[in-house]
Symmetry: C2
């Protein structure tokens, strides 16, 4: 109902819409409409009201509801269905359940806050309300399961591109899926996959981007390794506007991946990663390896040259840069 | 309650247990017990009753309930928790939901019949009641996702070994996960995986074994390519007894895999597969390849030598033998 009222108000931005007309078109009482208007104001909508002329929408809050987002989306199919929640355990868990229940490719789950936001390897992702972006996209790529890590690289490239196009800043990618500005983490990805031996049922692309966090909002432990677009750009970020960039880049890179295969994705990722030649320490399945990062191979694995000159292929793990700013993963 | 009554009756197999004593020990009325006994008889339990002496369990039906199975299980942790259902959409779907809800490694879901039994690649698995075995085991291996296909090979080896030890017959494996007797399919596996980019959350090991199907029960299309242990052994199979063998082999091969790695699994699989040198046709992601099966590599992929002498690595797909008996996948 809120959405329907807002839609009517948006249709006539410059004139007042009488309560009588809204009442007639939505088939609800004028008292019901009056109550809804009150509620919308508490959500941050600025609505002018006059007993004679009716209602007019002056300004919308930066909420990520479907009615706020859809008018500005330029995508073809990503975000055609948006599931919006004020709070969720995690957008990934919700999207996962929706996908098990046959949700379609491109459906998006957005939460204003997460109670158990998921970081990689079972960690939590700090998810306070209204400041940032927490979303999950359902994909159903027809690729073999062993290529699932390419979806992670693809999403990292898309997120980095969205940040660059939106901000003009140059984000780098930390293997496999953190996005950094000034060597500080501004976004993170967590992809969950449901597959059988020979095919992928779906991938949940979980993305968290720090948009309007301020330095003092980060806990002490992560303050030196975390950042937000607001901190980097020196101005408040419109979450809606950023979301538009992000979904567009995702749609575009995903279709490039499906049409042109992995090579172009791996190349774009390498261009962003600046990992070649960096001295790193990798923790992978309980084992720690130190060495020089040589490259990332076509399956998205890290090629490491260890101190005894041997080359190792690391498919999964945590990486730590040993030179320049030390960057630690800052999931809480 | 049924389970508790059966447990009491099993504790004194040779003497009658009075209704009064059962009533006292389970704290329910004698009328309630009388009703339960009636119900148990409709389920196939043969229970002697005498107004003076009470009740005695004569014979149990071949049901796969926890109380029937647990006394004969020899496993350490596989099947410690058994979820039994008369019918399910599919045991895999149920196990998947349980695993999302934190079910532990080794929990087993069994159904007497499945309404939407799952075969590979979205096909159905014919699952009539009481005749066969339909089960799913929850595993949580600490291995990278790209090794998930090894779990499929491991499960195929375990199932083949269980069939061999139980029947004395020699089953072969058809890549990647069908079990054949006389080139006819006797069992199939469907593994579903929940992972993120760098770790597996859980694997659902779905196994269907044709135990007491008779030839005429198979549809015409699959009659020539399907079989059951009853057909091959010429006698009715105790499902409980077979289940015991199967869970024991699974537990044993899984722990071998975790302790000793992939090589021993791939070797055991190859010994069973008899695939080397066979002329095959493989359909993989819409593409059809014909050639000679050279081997299976350490990740479980099929190595194919095509007619122009090139070697191709096939990670997923459907295989068809071109010589001897033609074996087609017979999922409906």
């Amino acid at each position: 109902m809120d959405e329907k009222i807002l839609q009517l108000l948006r249709e006539s931005p410059s004139v007042f819409l009488s309560g009588e007309e809204i009442s007639r078109r939505l088939r609800v009482s004028r008292t019901a409409i009056w109550k809804r208007m009150k509620r919308l104001r508490t959500l941050g909508y600025e609505i002018a009201a006059s007993t004679r002329s009716g209602y007019r929408l002056i300004r919308s809050p930066d909420l990520l509801t479907p009615s706020e987002i859809k008018p500005i989306l330029k995508t073809k199919w990503v975000g055609k269905a948006i599931h919006h929640f004020h709070t969720l355990d995690s957008t990934n868990s919700k999207a996962y359940q929706l996908a098990l229940d046959e949700a379609e490719e491109g459906e998006v789950v957005i939460a204003e806050s997460q109670e158990k936001g998921k970081g990689r390897l079972g960690r939590q992702w700090f998810s306070p309300p209204f400041l940032n972006l927490y979303l999950s996209v359902i994909l159903r790529p027809k690729i073999p399961p062993h290529q699932a890590s390419l979806i992670t690289l693809m999403a990292a490239v898309a997120t980095a591109d969205a940040i660059q196009k939106f901000s003009g800043l140059l984000p780098l990618i930390k293997w496999p899926n953190d996005i950094l500005l000034r060597d500080r983490k501004v976004a993170g990805l967590l992809n969950e996959i449901h597959s059988e031996t020979d095919r992928i049922h779906f991938v949940i692309l979980g993305i968290g981007v720090n948009l309007n966090m301020e330095e003092k909002m980060f806990s002490k432990e992560i303050r030196s390794v975390a950042t937000s677009l607001k901190i980097e750009m020196g101005q408040t970020i419109s979450r809606k506007a950023f979301l538009q960039f992000l979904l567009q880049e995702l749609e575009s890179w995903y279709s490039i991946f499906l049409k042109q295969g992995s090579a172009i994705i791996v190349k774009a990722w390498r261009d962003r990663a600046h990992i070649k030649g960096r001295r790193v320490k990798v923790t992978s399945f309980g084992e720690t390896l130190a060495g020089i990062a040589v490259d990332v191979d076509s399956d998205g694995a890290l090629i490491l040259e260890t101190e005894d000159g041997k080359r190792k292929r690391v498919v999964a793990g945590d990486i730590e840069y040993k030179r320049k700013l030390r960057v630690k993963s800052y999931e809480l």
